[in-house]
Symmetry: C2
Subunit: 444 residues, 2 copies
Amino acid sequence: MHKYRGQCRLVLKPASTDEVSRILRYCNDEMLAVVPQGGNTGLVGGSVPVFDEIVVNMSRMNKIHSFDDVGGCLVLDAGCILEVADQFVAERGYVFPLDLGAKGSCHVGGNVATNAGGLRFLRYGSLHGSVLGMEVVLPDGTVLDDMCTLRKNNTGYDLKQLFIGAEGTIGIITKLSVLCPQRSPAVNVAFLGLSSYQKAQQAFREAKAHLSEILSAFELMDAKSQQLVRAVRKEKHPLDDEHPFYCLIETSGSNGEHDYAKLEAFLESVMSNDVVSDGIVAQDASQIKSLWTWRESVPECIGHWGGVYKYDVSIPLSDMYTIVDDVKARLTEAGLLGETDEYPVLGAVGYGHMGDSNLHLNVAVRRYDKKVEQALEPFVYEWIEKRKGSISAEHGLGLAKKNFIKYSRNDTTVGLMKQIKHLYDPALGGGLPQNGIMNPYKYI
Amino acid sequence: MHKYRGQCRLVLKPASTDEVSRILRYCNDEMLAVVPQGGNTGLVGGSVPVFDEIVVNMSRMNKIHSFDDVGGCLVLDAGCILEVADQFVAERGYVFPLDLGAKGSCHVGGNVATNAGGLRFLRYGSLHGSVLGMEVVLPDGTVLDDMCTLRKNNTGYDLKQLFIGAEGTIGIITKLSVLCPQRSPAVNVAFLGLSSYQKAQQAFREAKAHLSEILSAFELMDAKSQQLVRAVRKEKHPLDDEHPFYCLIETSGSNGEHDYAKLEAFLESVMSNDVVSDGIVAQDASQIKSLWTWRESVPECIGHWGGVYKYDVSIPLSDMYTIVDDVKARLTEAGLLGETDEYPVLGAVGYGHMGDSNLHLNVAVRRYDKKVEQALEPFVYEWIEKRKGSISAEHGLGLAKKNFIKYSRNDTTVGLMKQIKHLYDPALGGGLPQNGIMNPYKYI
């Protein structure tokens, strides 16, 4: 994104938990700041050394230790690449419970540290549920070994949960055990056109009822997002006519015939009830891929004209798309949005993981303009605060959102978070050897 | 169980979060110990006032606040009864992601405080994944309001996770938001006989492959458990011949025909490969109930002859049943187990949630005898420690297991847990007003 430029004179690449522990103990004693770094694919600058922090890169800790092919528990180092882990379990009939665009380079340790969401979230849920065990090194070098490989263990506080989504601010994750579900051999994809956001919500409700246990993705795209993709890619859209909204629905199950029958019943229902205006079902793997392209290439195509202001937000479903209309109205009123080159803003676009109430609000611009930013912020954050949404659904806080947490968390909660940070990595030593060494200038 | 007798002169029944907050602030200032109490159905004495603690009973806080019937998020008070919550969402096509025997009286707040597992765990996973938001009052009266109703919110440490399974030792949960999955209209049950534990593992592996997304229970019962049930209930067993092991398999899905076809394909495969010796599929709802009886009445029937030593443990699947054989051998060698009345032990029985690696090891006795206890403990705990199992899979620590945590957690981990307890509810005031008031004498 050309948004962050790291500054760093020392990168350490430990090969063992003991080395990580010795590094942190030393840095803690010497008051040296540290940035844990996985695949360096985060979107909020969380793994960037801001001033002169020492990078602790985890890429050498990349062993897969064991896999229980009855229970599905995978034990692996934090530095394993997500795609490698997924391929390993795929050969054994399982699936890693997380999938995202950066899978070819992101590390599973980084995924857990940032509580990554991604494409399989609707089906396999949060990492808080699928991470069974963790080994993590605390800022003072203490190794917390909670490498449970069992689904149930009610013996005391579940400390590992604190490190899921802590973005490397209270420790470095070194090892994980992860519960992998059975892989689904059958995948189907449908692409629908709808006349309103209201209808998209109805379609989602119907999809849950008809597809229930096999529904693995429900994605939303608005008309503008598809216009922009078509303008860039110059390909024929899957649906002949234009529609105000589009949904991509994916099913994954153990029996292709059964799944197809369920999908057909769903489509019959939503077409005959006028919930959906038009629809198409992929006939083979290449068509599945091509339909996904119209969803997956949105973020890339949007940047084609100059730049993009990006917001990754959670909003209750009933209100979710309204933010796009409100942002459009605001930019139009301010004289910033228009068809011709004199307007900096080309369009405001909404798309994302509707099944998870997770919207990507993107404002496509012809050129960056301070006035646009001023029109958007804090407007967008205040809008979300009013609806009790989240200003960062899955990307985290990092450097980018550190100053905006108050829009999603009240003062008491932020105070209690700072207490946790202080517990593990105190900023005010007062005779103690720790000095806030872990991933400083970020998060809270 | 006639195991605990509470002592208490004061029961408080707050009707609002504010009242809970004022109670705790007062008790904290006055150094008065407090026991939070939900439905009082726990199995380890966690909700019992040990000496003279003040009971804070949550039964008056029992409102259901809202339900989002598109997203499936239920917002409710901690004192709601589990069955009431489940019925509420059932009428709307959803299911509460937790089910257990005590559902008619247990509170959802208590379920979350004890991280209850239960019958839907295999399908819907841990409460760490399905609890979306929480309001909890800390020992000093501070209200932590993290009532998120969205699936994704990556803005800071996920503090609520600490209170899931904390057994009321660092706060009282007052409100929850819970993600409810789509309810499955179709349920099927099969009951299988198998010649060895090895075969039961194979059957589980095959069930996961064939039934995948619709598998909702995989329960194991050994021969002795079924003999004891038959001896008490004097009914015909579902299978004609006796088998060393039995499995009960349940599927839940959105389409009964599809599910039945999958179950048939699974049965054909395991019968033709000699994985399963005999099997039966329930033909209607009453037969489903009757098959479940042979699993669900085990704990009750086992107590018929006098008493039971009960262990609720997690062990890696490959080794899970071995503990029953080893316990039997040890009791036999010690001259404690035999057919006739001179022996205190009637039998050692293994059954439980095989799909979750969760075994209930029960030792049925004709009379309680100190020698039996000495033969069992710490033998059982040491056995589990060697296999890196858990001494409490789903029941928690409470009063019963407080002294045994070291068999499942190392000293460093227990030390870090005590640090958390001290953070929220310090035992050594040193000028601070807090004095370890929350659910003392228990947990860690």
